[in-house]
């Protein structure tokens, strides 16, 4: 609690300083600009209060939803909030997420139709690694789906022929 109080005090002091600096320049500004700087001060105050509180309460456990790229000002990485390795709820569904098939291994009964959905913005394919392949999709753009019905038992290794480091397996029993 001491930490939070200290941070609040710092935030209040910094906000006050900013307000004074802004007021010093107000004489040269038009009315619109004044309104803008007032908004900016409020924004800065709110941000400082938030950061101060969070930093004091849980310094290392802060959830980072987006991050600035080092050396690349203005660029932000989009972080997917969904963990990649969590198996979809449907037992016959495979999602393609962040250049990976999920689940990486799927076990189904003979006769099951498995559906793959490309949730990336990049195109991917679903191609059986056997020669000749038992199944082979066309290019799946973001949001596209591909289905295949497994009529024979076996272990089917497959990959994305565009990004062959993406490898996964369907086991049919």
């Amino acid at each position: 609690m001491m930490k939070i109080a200290l941070n609040l005090a710092i935030a209040a002091f910094v906000t006050g300083s900013l307000a004074r600096i802004a007021l010093r320049h107000q004489g040269q500004r038009v009315r619109l600009a004044r309104r803008r700087s007032a908004k900016a001060i409020l924004g800065v105050a709110a941000a400082l209060l938030f950061v101060g509180s969070v930093a004091g309460a849980a310094a290392d456990e802060m959830a980072v939803m987006s991050m600035e790229m080092p050396g690349m000002p203005g660029m932000k990485m989009k972080m997917d909030a969904t963990p990649v390795d969590v198996a979809p709820t449907e037992p016959n569904v495979v999602n393609i997420n962040n250049f990976a098939f999920s689940p990486k291994e799927l076990t189904v009964a003979v006769g099951t139709t498995v559906t793959w959905t490309n949730k990336d913005e990049e195109p991917h394919t679903v191609v059986n690694a056997a020669s000749p392949p038992a199944f082979k999709s066309a290019a799946l753009d973001g949001g596209d789906k591909f289905s295949f019905t497994f009529t024979k038992p076996g272990t089917y290794r497959y990959f994305c022929s565009v990004h062959p480091f993406m490898v996964a397996t369907v086991v049919v029993k």
Binding site: M69, G71, M72, P73, G74, M75, K76, M77, K78, M79, D80, V84, N98, F99, A100, D120, E121, E122, P123, T125, V127, A129, A138, A139, D141, G142, R157, Y158, F159, S161, V162, H163, P164, F165, V167
Partner: protein, 310 residues
């Protein structure tokens, strides 16, 4: 990879330098000489008779419709306009692959139409986005020269420099990286056999020909065999695309140079969950995409990258 390898990723400092760069008299020329890239003003470059230069565009991804660039056709046109605005005319242009996004005939048609507006002889190699579903059949029919082998690879000469266009995006195997294959490697040995060791070599391909970041497929499985063949040459320059950012590496006599895309940037190796498009603010997009100019003055090529905007 030895400990002496140099890897230079375009970071803040270099990016700032490049932001100030335009074609012509203003700007910086990156000269690769003795393995050490040096910078000097573009207008200080001597232009003797027999010297020439060419340009490289890459990863135009015509057909891509999403953020951060739903209009890659417009940015490709801008890239070509930047080339057209140069004070001198390039000898030719290279397109190092991913011309299209989904290998659709309509995408190839649109890309071809835009590329022709440059009025330059253009040498293409395919990216993995150009060979989806048909192993590049449609791409090769449209963009390969008559001299290309059935697999799509070819070579040509310009002012004493030997240019080799390689295909490393066809016949990819599960769990692997880019691949050249035995047939192409044999052809490479045959193609270069009669050349003197002092002939400058420029290799252009889509995927990096060194293991830049295998976890994201940024490499070519059998590239070391290609460089065993090229080892005797004094100057080998490798130009590629695929990773949508500038990365340089020097290894012995070989200089590797990856180029920017004309469509969108990608994250630095390992700096995101996957190698998808880097989500960049619209007003910053043109500072992260661009074109490349390569000047040959004697043995050592000088490479200058220019973003579409600062």
């Amino acid at each position: 990879m030895s400990n002496g390898d140099k890897i230079v990723t375009a970071g803040t400092t270099r990016r700032r330098v490049l932001q100030c760069m335009g074609w012509g008299t203003a700007g910086i020329l990156w000269t690769v000489s003795g393995g050490i890239p040096r910078a000097k003003a573009l207008d200080a470059a001597p232009r003797a008779a027999g010297d020439f230069f060419f340009v490289q565009v890459s990863d135009s991804h015509i057909g891509f419709t999403k953020a951060p660039n739903p209009q890659p056709d417009a940015t490709l046109r801008e890239a070509l306009q930047k080339i057209a605005a140069m004070p001198d005319r390039p000898a030719f242009m290279l397109h190092t692959g991913d011309v299209s996004h989904l290998s659709k005939p309509s995408e190839f048609e649109a890309a071809s139409g835009i590329m022709q507006t440059a009025g330059l002889e253009t040498h293409y190699v395919p990216g993995e986005h150009d060979t989806i579903g048909d192993e590049g059949k449609e791409f090769f029919a449209r963009f390969s020269p008559k001299t290309a082998r059935p697999g799509g690879w070819y070579s040509f000469d310009q002012n004493g420099v030997h240019f080799i266009g390689l295909v490393n995006v066809v016949g990819l195997k599960d769990g692997g990286l880019g691949t050249l294959g035995d047939e192409q490697l044999k052809w490479l040995a045959d193609d270069t056999r009669a050349l003197s060791a002092s002939t400058p070599i420029v290799v252009f391909a889509h995927m990096p020909l060194w293991s830049l970041y295998p976890q994201w497929g940024w490499g070519t499985d059998d590239a070391t065999q290609a460089f065993a063949t090229l080892k005797r040459f004094g100057s080998v320059t490798v130009l590629n695309g695929h990773i949508h950012q500038i990365v340089q590496k020097v290894e012995g006599n070989v200089t590797f140079q990856t180029a920017r895309s004309t469509a969108y940037p990608q994250p630095q190796a390992g700096q995101a969950a996957g190698p998808g498009p880097l989500q960049i603010a619209a007003e910053r997009l043109r500072s992260a995409i661009g074109v490349r100019r390569i000047d040959f003055t004697g043995m050592a090529p000088a490479i200058a990258d220019a973003a579409l905007a600062s």
